[in-house]
Symmetry: C2
Subunit: 426 residues, 2 copies
């Protein structure tokens, strides 16, 4: 299968852009340059007036939780969890997990996301099924609550998920272990998870230092800060994707550096829940990989990576009182190349020969993209995800001219709405 | 002319919502309740699956500056102004002002804005022309730079604008005086403007306390803070729309209260330029009217009010470390009802009988709006302006099913792009 994208504006790995052709052969980009007119293609996409960027990578989310989008907002965190979220989550069936993930997949593709790192459960095999069907890439983990009565079963589920799905769907699925956080996983449980990580040679997806309360509780309970406790368990030796990382001290930044931990920054969720602002510019200066995630749609409340890219480019400027903090180019890189690195994807995140063909075409024919001096700047500071026109993953077209090719959008919206109604009796 | 919107979900003035009918008679809402099936209408809009909210009010912008969108980003403020913005602005012709404002009007209508407060110039009569042609409401002022050699001519232009256009376009245009800011208008010039305001009985649109530098310079130059200096000129006695108000002390908040000054908060611009965060929750607690504006598209970089509503609902939560700061309902109110009050519009900003028919219909049939527990919450935290489907101002349809009715979108985008190219030689 050979596809030509004719004459779009292409975002280069160095942040510049130029008009050129892109040729895709099977799952890979085989050519980024003007093409030979004599070549024959199975499919040609007219790229004129389009801006092509690497697919967005959502480095931290809880896909099936999309069923609870805006079920309860503008409440205190613990009241929201205790009164609204947890009672509903406890009722979720296999079917809910499937349709919740399907709803998430529709939203992700429509807004230009090509890969996501998910932590949820039970029934993560249903999420794997949606990854397979949708054509997306998914890095899945079963959320592990060490203080739960069924903590060991959850860990066994995560191990099964690894055994059954790591490398599945033509390699589009990979699996990590998902110890939820320091306040839900005591040190002895972290040790158990670490033993499985060693046995499987498997990476870790964990929430770290999201709130000040969490850090203070950890110091009270264990006498040290979260990164120190988790480092001691050995978990960080396996390759780690750490979500949030809002409240860090110097010693923890040092642990992040030494263990090459990749950070998933979630600006929308951190703002909405009043968690705080991750010291992104500091982390980047230390050479740490900072990616972006949406978190779950009940604390965001969407899975729109372009909003996270925009927020990342805006909030750190005022937080640092520096108009040059996190430029448009840096924010795009966080949402693409850094994301791929953070969630452990090889050959993804840059538009160049030999990389996987995970691409997004944006339609620049609208007021928000006029005039067009700098499409990268427009993407971050002016456009929104409605410009996402065509989405390609692993060389396969998942959406063309705004129309989904792998999922039945109408059916997914209806079934997800049904699940949400049943779950909440509304 | 009698229009029926059949069975949309309607946002009520108290922030609740319900399914009902809306009837528009000429320029006004005549009925918000189930309609009598026997009535005959000139036009019927199928409102099922749509959410109807008051039109968004952009309380502070520089419309024609949209021509310079993303011309130069991620630069220091003064370098950006000196090297990029001012040299280009100095070259703007009458035609540029017209097409820049036309581009702004297209963008505003497409994203659900029904009224805007503009400060720019020269050739503000061209902006008035676009307000007339587009069907929007515009509150126009000629930006007055007191330190400029032609300061008096500028003031005369603003006076002419008032004489020629205040109350024009069936009352959709009103005019304010636009003294730019304390750092561009010395006290004696403010006095001159005040005399004209008295003579015309005309309100004021001014930038106040946008940056810390501006406040510190004022204290250095005049020994007091900006609000004290402007209050002394008498300008605040005429009714004032004050943009930004980021850096305020208690005495200035007291001046704002006493003079019933309405504040236009510009979160996107204040973040992007690293100006700071306006103490919105404090102002609201004092009963001060806080509206929202986009500022110009070269410091935002769009005119999308829904983004400002979203940012207002997000950034104050983390700034106050309070997840209840600025709820979704409050953010919508800032972008609608408060906006109308801020820019001096009567009978605008709420959906109820007798109010002007300035309405926006949002299409809820998409992933970002599924499931739909609370459309107001979805509007703020999940949706974006691509859901804006139909826009009505003064009872007249400016856009229906995403299609503009008063402006030729294709022509406007092409002409604006031409102007931008010519101005910048790019």
């Amino acid at each position: 299968m050979k596809t030509l994208i004719r004459k779009p504006i292409v975002l280069e790995p160095d942040g510049t852009f130029r008009e050129t052709d892109i040729i895709i052969k099977d799952d890979k980009i085989s050519h980024v340059d003007l093409s030979d007119d004599l070549e024959v293609f199975d499919h040609t996409i007219d790229g004129r007036g389009k801006f092509v960027v690497p697919g967005f990578i959502n480095a931290h989310t809880h896909a099936s939780m999309t069923l609870l989008r805006s079920y309860a907002d503008d409440k205190e965190l613990m009241a929201w969890l205790n009164e609204d979220i947890w009672p509903i989550e406890a009722k979720m069936t296999r079917e809910d997990i499937y349709w919740g993930a399907a709803l998430a997949a529709v939203e992700m593709i429509k807004s230009g996301t090509t890969a996501f790192a998910d932590m949820y459960g039970p029934f993560m095999d249903e999420v794997a099924k949606i990854v397979d069907e949708s054509g997306l890439r998914g890095v899945l983990s079963r959320g592990l609550i060490g203080v739960a009565p069924d903590a060991d079963e959850k860990l066994a589920e995560n191990v099964d998920l690894y055994r059954d799905f790591n490398g599945a769907a033509d390699g589009r699925i990979s699996v990590m272990l998902g110890p939820h956080a320091i306040y839900t996983c005591p040190p002895d449980y972290l040790k158990k998870v670490e033993r499985e990580a060693t046995r499987l040679n498997c990476e870790i997806h964990i929430h770290m230092n999201e709130t000040l309360t969490e850090v203070n509780d950890c110091r009270k309970n264990y006498g040290r800060r979260p990164f120190e406790i988790v480092a001691e368990s050995g978990l960080f030796d396996h390759g780690t994707l750490a979500a949030h990382c809002v409240h860090l001290d110097e010693s923890e930044i040092d642990i992040i550096k030494r263990h090459n931990i990749r950070v998933a920054h979630n600006p929308g969720s951190n703002l909405k829940l009043a968690s705080g602002i991750c010291p992104v510019t500091k982390l980047m200066r230390e050479g740490i990989t900072v990616a972006l995630g949406t978190d779950g749609a009940s604390s965001n409340n969407n899975l729109d990576m372009l909003e996270e890219i925009k927020l990342a480019a805006l909030i750190h400027k005022v937080d640092r009182m520096d108009p040059l903090a996190v430029t448009a180019a840096e924010a795009i890189q966080m949402g693409t190349e850094n994301g791929a690195r953070a969630i452990g994807l090889k050959d993804v995140g840059r538009i160049e020969k030999g990389m996987k063909a995970d691409l997004v075409l944006l339609d620049m024919n609208s007021a928000a993209w006029t005039p067009c001096f700098n499409p990268a700047s427009l993407l971050v500071y002016s456009g929104n995800s409605s410009a996402v026109d065509t989405v390609i993953v692993d060389g396969k077209i998942l959406m063309e001219n705004h129309e989904l090719k792998t999922l039945d959008e109408e059916k997914v919206l209806a079934e997800a709405a049904n699940c949400a109604r049943r779950l909440t009796n509304k």
